[in-house]
């Protein structure tokens, strides 16, 4: 379970960034004091337009960056006070995290397994399972630079899950994937949920969120505008699909 309370993240802008953003404000509030809880055995979707604060939220949850204010608690561990304990329990996948293209999937996965203090036997077992599931096995000893984009993405997922984490945070997990690979990923996320894992994903794809997520949070300008099950969101917004609900909230936010 992950508990987020009053999460706020402020970035200090450089002069170059201030100019690019056409602002004279030295600080930018990316996430403005949000609260949410994601339970075990649940997939939580974070939706929002570009620059809404999704990625910043996920980076804070993964301990890649620290919150300016607020707390994040993962299975009883505070993300700031006990980041190593939190990291040992989570998988974080985002397009910004890359694997060294010089190595093979086999070496890379073993390396990350060892960083997670796993023994060789356990690494082998988990690696075989994940490689078989995602179809990486035939390319096990191929250099990552020679893999297709889809295969690289599947390998990244396998590497992120090598230590069998209890919290899985995937930022746009199906981005750039063909329909077959995307289905493999979403199916695996469902399987992980069935195993009792806590899963948070961010996505632009409304149909993915509709099909996959137990609860959805829509974030705009660093604030969560609405949160609940798909039915609850549709009821609150008076719309009959998530995309329309999203746009209703978006335009309301723009007017404000």
């Amino acid at each position: 379970m992950i508990k987020v309370h009053g999460l706020k993240k402020t970035f200090e802008l450089s002069k170059k960034q201030m100019k690019a953003n056409n602002t004279d404000q030295k600080y930018k509030v990316a996430v403005n004091g949000i609260d949410f809880i994601v339970y075990d055995n649940e997939i939580f979707g974070l939706l929002g337009p570009n620059g809404a604060g999704k990625t910043t939220t996920l980076r804070c949850l993964s301990t890649l960056i620290s919150p300016t204010e607020g707390t994040i608690n993962v299975n009883g561990y505070d993300s700031v006070k006990d980041p190593l304990a939190v990291r040992s329990q989570l998988a974080f996948l985002t397009s910004e995290l890359k694997l060294d293209s010089h190595f093979t999937p086999d070496y890379t996965t073993r390396f990350f397994g060892r960083l997670h203090n796993m023994n060789d036997e356990l690494i082998e077992k988990r690696m075989n399972h994940l490689f078989d599931y995602f179809g990486v096995t035939p390319f096990r000893y191929t250099k990552i630079s020679d893999l297709s984009t889809g295969m690289k993405q599947k390998l990244s997922i396998a590497v992120s899950l090598i230590h069998d984490p209890s919290l899985i945070i995937f930022d746009e997990p199906t981005n750039g994937l063909d329909i077959i690979t995307a289905r493999a990923v979403t199916d695996y996320l469902k399987e992980l949920k069935a195993q009792g894992k806590t899963i948070i994903i961010s996505t632009h794809m409304m149909h993915v969120a509709e099909k996959l997520c137990d609860r959805i949070g829509i974030i705009m300008d660093g604030n969560i505008k609405t949160m609940g099950t798909l039915e609850e969101i549709l009821q609150t917004t008076g719309k009959d699909n998530l995309e329309d609900a999203f746009f209703k909230l978006y335009f309301e936010n723009e007017v404000k």
Partner: protein, 401 residues
């Protein structure tokens, strides 16, 4: 903690040593290019020296006395090509390189020498072109010849040349014990410079890629979400970089050793050198290694810190270049520097390591001074490590996007 540090270091070393391109560009190419460049330089310099020495100097004369003419004719490396030309003509020929020396004797020079009157000293004008090496060499030859002529004249005028000889000077070398002889002076001052540059250059390329490159490519961020201390990530990188720097330095140095049969005249003060001269006692070798390790620690951590601050490989290159220049300057200062009576240089990091290497190679190594330099090196390395650790905790540094 140690396990994850070694794990990172092993991964970094694997990254380097399984990449053929990196192995070739970081270890093999420098060795081969250094061997070839220094050999070619040595051969070319040797040929140029031989050519100048064996060149027949073309000399123009005016009013040449018979005796000097005889002396000139007996020297096989001098040929009189222009006779009785005036100074203006000679200047033009010297400037074009058609003549290498011009010597003009006063009218009645020989009579004035033979019938010497007090205060009546005949004039000899010599002229050469400093622009042309052959002309400079001809100047030496003609000056030596005229000096010989002077001695002959004085001997005949005074009956005995020793009348004008105030004293006899005999200079000798003291016997230096084998153990404190050290190696050739030229080498002793050159080796610290080469070692220093090779260590820095070896660590620079791979250090930039391993830290700034990984940041830029996003591969470092993948490690930041694993349960290992961020200090271990940079520590492992620094450890592997130290190994790479040492291997790179050794390979470059092998290049220098390969070139020695041809390049000895560049490095050696005597123009000749044998590998056996590099033999050092166990103590000297230990002190030399201490100084070298001190440089490795400082250079690698400085490169690591500068690479961390940078957001891209390009930026890191821009930050590290001034440091590389300082390394080269300190090497040249040590090579051409004079004494340090106050002993202040012994406390200046980097420079004191170079001085110590120089001393050790000259047979004047001091264990106390080696330990002082080790102490300052450790202090700088630790300071840089602490800074690197601090930087690893900064979001803007490790995850700037």
């Amino acid at each position: 903690m140690i396990n994850s540090l070694i794990l990172i270091a092993r991964k970094e070393l694997r990254r380097v040593f399984t990449d053929k391109r990196l192995v070739i560009t970081s270890f093999i190419l420098p060795m081969i290019s250094i061997a070839i460049i220094y050999s070619i330089m040595g051969i070319m310099i040797g040929r140029a020296e031989e050519d100048i020495k064996s060149h027949i100097s073309r000399v123009g004369v005016n009013n040449l006395p018979i005796m000097i003419q005889t002396m000139l004719q007996t020297d096989e490396t001098i040929e009189i090509t222009q006779v009785n030309i005036d100074i203006d003509q000679a200047e033009g020929l010297l400037l074009n390189g058609d003549l290498e020396y011009y010597i003009s004797f006063e009218e009645g020079f020989e009579d004035k020498i033979l019938n010497f009157q007090k205060g009546d000293v005949p004039l000899v004008k010599g002229m050469y072109s400093p622009k042309h090496d052959y002309s400079v060499q001809a100047n030496y030859k003609l000056n030596a010849l005229m000096e010989g002529y002077k001695h002959i004249v004085l001997a005949s005028r005074l009956g005995d040349e020793s009348y004008i000889q105030v004293y006899k000077m005999e200079s000798g070398e003291i016997e230096i014990p084998q153990e404190s002889k050290g190696i050739d002076r030229g080498f002793a001052s050159m080796i610290p410079l080469l070692v220093s540059i090779f260590i820095f250059a070896g660590a620079m390329g791979i250090g930039i890629d391993s830290i700034a490159g990984e940041k830029e490519r996003g591969t470092m961020a993948s490690m930041l979400i694993t349960p290992i201390d961020r200090a271990n990530i940079i520590g492992g990188k620094i450890l592997s970089l130290s190994v790479v720097a040492l291997i790179s330095m050794i390979s470059s140095f092998i290049g220098v050793l390969i070139s020695i049969p041809f390049s000895a005249r560049i490095f050696s003060s005597t123009g000749s050198f044998e590998l056996s001269q590099l033999a050092m006692s166990g103590m000297d070798l230990t002190m030399f290694f201490i100084s070298m390790i001190g440089l490795v620690g400082m250079y690698v951590t400085i490169i690591a810190v500068l690479s961390m601050i940078a957001n891209s490989v390009k930026e890191a290159g821009a930050y590290i270049t001034p440091a590389y220049m300082l390394v080269m300057i300190s090497g040249f200062m040590n090579m051409f520097g004079s004494g340090d009576a106050a002993g202040i240089f012994d406390y200046i990091p980097v420079y004191n390591n170079l001085i110590n290497m120089n001393r050790i190679l000259s047979g004047d190594g001091s264990i106390i001074k080696a330990l002082i330099s080790l102490g300052t090196s450790i202090a700088v390395t630790l300071a840089m490590l602490l800074l690197a650790r601090k930087l690893m905790e900064k979001e803007k540094v490790v995850f700037p996007s």
